[in-house]
Amino acid sequence: MNVERILINALEAGIGLETVVFALAAIGLNVHFGYTGLLNFGQSAFMAMAAYGIGTTVATFDLPLWLGVIFGLLAAVLLALLLGIPTLRLRADYLAIVTIAAAEIVRLTVRSVTFEETFGGSDGRQGFSNDFYSINPYPEGFYGVGRFGFSERPIWVLTVGWTLVALSCLFVFLLMRSPWGRVLKAIREDEDAVRSLGKNVYSYKMQSLVIGGVLGCLGGFILALGRSSIQPDIFGTETTFFAYTVLILGGAARVASPVVGAMIFWVVLSLTDNVLNEAIDAGYVSTSIINNTQVGQFRFMLVGLSLMLLMIFRPQGIFGDRREIALDAR
């Protein structure tokens, strides 16, 4: 077993592309679920809006990347409005069902053969990130200490990604300190009380849905640019639930918890993946019990189990306050 490589991989996963993507997705969910108590199960659709926003704009229509970013943001806002209008007046579980349905609609549509010319079918889109890498300020080379580090392309994505994470956290921090944020938290605690104070609960929920969706879609941009390719099945329901696990692990309704949650989440997944793979390669674990392709399945089981255990035994996660989590549908 190569302990050094396992540890380096885990460290890199802790600040790597997935961590950034899921931190951003979870920051958006934090605005929805943590602060407003909205159960959005369609965060992957917001990420898909961003990713396909740039993917189709650049790869299909041959327009510049910045226009794709604008289209992606607009699509995310539009999706939030479309989802919010029928459901925000209804009970929390309706929003959950509609958002998860919408996410599947988006995924099935972009992967369909019918729209293959626009969205690329199940192969998705490639070759849209040249504009992004052409403004890479890092010269060619390796950035890191010893074997830990990244080459010039990932480090550029990570720089942009972590900047966005920091800005998003600052934005959420300032928002939630403002009177507007206090109204959101009040809606989470007691919607009727807020309504009786003369606030338009519907409008506040809609604003929260839009803001959280846009923050989540930033994760979609980073994912698309970091991989330089997108496939529709990245945006399945599992992605949303990974983001929920990240959020609940860190603790909902805390500004920094999605970031810490994402780091722990991906370090743990990287460790289990690598340790299992190395153990299989070294023959410590018989391939009749688990082989290398099944390691990926084990990851999903682990996430499912931790989501259950977290929610049962520690719904406030690491940093949260149990009294602040929207655990009951009203």
Binding site: L39, I97, V98, L108, L307, M311, A326
Partner: protein
């Protein structure tokens, strides 16, 4: 219907191949060549097509041949390799078309000193011999079958929601479990080796599966959801727990069952039986009959038996039901057991209809939600009506929209229904938010 078409097509093909075989005997080309006969099937006769242009492209060859008065064309390609043979559809005489207009280009491998025959099937497309109405009837029957299967699963989902308030995202995995356990038990390919066990008759296996599903339902309530209720776990927390359980079970099943799709050996390749314009396999008819009988039994139990009345009372108002002397926990336990067995049955029937894989339940989970919401959240009869509507809609809509987008249509309808009638078709008009 589809099977009949396939038989007709096969006969046609073999007839054409015979003609080609004859042709191959006549051909005296030196080295390698690609040739063929273009003959249009017209009222049982094969009429040669003259003057059609066929282009052969490949390594060092780009040649166009024209068919002669016997419909024959030949291109000498000179060496072995893979060639692309394209027929110019515009050069075909009036009234003659390719059977499949998209198949105008074929890739053919040619080996050493071979005279390679290439066939372009002409004539009316045999695929569209069905009228729209016959298609609609066939799809309605398939839709009804699908709707009944969804109904079996959705009734349990709806009853569990009604009595406990839990939106159970792991209900799809109960469906999958039913399908997969039945496959394990009937074929004897258990995930754990059990020496001397070689599988049993499918019906026995189905009965064993339902018993196991009852146990799983009991365990669900006794070991997980019951204790959570007593702890006072909130509904949203419980919903997220069910998502975790769904992920865990789904990938556990992937691990145990593998990602491939399988079928029950007992029902593989059954011959279709026609009733009017509808062709379904005997297993399909029996599945539908079983589903109808079981659903009617559930309806009877809910309306007429003490337990059923108690269930509806708990759905209405658990606190009041408890105060009236109803054993609420007992009712919920029964609902879990019955709901899981129904889901398991749905899984078995779905497995017969479309084959088994590790996520057949998850794939219909959202349709179940759509059905339950459409009918009215928490009402058992609403779930029934909603399921039939969703099943029919999903299947019949393939008449006008591509099959791959059928679920998109159903989920879109779900969202629209929530806009105009959030309480569903049979739900009481009350404030739900």
């Amino acid at each position: 219907m589809r099977r009949r078409v396939a038989v007709a097509l096969a006969t046609m093909m073999s007839a054409l191949v015979c003609v080609l075989g004859l042709g191959a005997g006549v051909a005296h080309a030196e080295g390698e060549s690609i040739f063929g006969f273009l003959r249009n099937a017209k009222g049982g006769d094969l009429v040669p097509v003259e003057g059609a242009k066929i282009t052969v492209k490949g390594p060092g060859v780009n040649e166009t041949a024209t068919t002669d008065d016997t419909g024959r064309w030949t291109v000498e390609v000179g060496k072995p390799g893979t060639y692309t043979v394209t027929i110019d559809q515009k050069s075909l005489p009036k009234g003659v078309t390719l059977r499949n207009p998209d198949a105008d280009s074929l890739k053919v491998p040619v080996v050493e000193s071979q005279d390679k025959p290439v066939l372009f099937a002409l004539g009316k497309s045999t695929r569209v011999i069905q009228s729209k109405w016959a298609q609609a009837a066939q799809l309605s029957a398939e839709g009804l079958r699908f709707g009944l299967i969804i109904a079996l699963a959705a009734v349990g989902l709806s009853l569990i929601f009604g009595t406990t308030g839990l939106t159970n995202f792991s209900h799809g995995e109960l469906v999958t479990l039913g399908a997969i356990i039945a496959w394990w038990v009937s074929t004897g390919n258990l995930p754990l080796s059990l020496p001397g066990y070689g599988g049993v008759n499918f019906l026995v296996a189905a009965a064993i599966t339902l018993a196991i599903m009852g146990l799983i339902g009991w365990a669900n309530d006794a070991r997980l959801w019951g204790p959570l209720r007593r702890r006072g776990t909130g509904l949203i927390a419980a919903m997220i727990v069910s998502i975790g359980l769904s992920l865990l079970l789904r990938y556990l099943l992937l691990y145990l069952f593998s990602g491939s799709s399988r079928a029950y050996p007992a029902y593989r390749g059954q011959k279709g039986v026609d009733i009017g314009p509808i062709t379904l396999s005997p297993a399909d008819y029996i599945s539908m009959a079983i589903a109808i009988v079981v659903l009617m039994a559930v309806a009877y139990a809910l309306l007429r038996t003490r337990l059923g009345k108690a269930t509806r009372a708990v759905s209405d108002n658990p606190a009041l039901a408890s105060a009236s002397g109803i054993d609420v926990d007992g009712v919920i336990r029964t609902v879990w057991i019955a709901g899981s067995m129904l889901a398991g049955l749905a899984g078995i029937l779905l497995g017969i209809a479309q084959g088994i894989n590790f996520q057949i339940g998850f794939q219909i989970l959202l349709l179940m939600f759509a059905a339950v919401t459409l009918g009215g959240l928490g009402t058992a009869f609403g779930a029934l009506v909603g399921s039939i509507v969703v099943g029919m809609f999903v299947t019949v809509s393939t008449l006008v929209i591509p099959a791959e987008l059928k679920n998109v249509g159903a989920l879109g309808i779900l969202i629209i229904i929530l806009l105009v009638r959030p309480q569903g078709i049979l739900g009481r008009a009350e404030r739900v938010g």
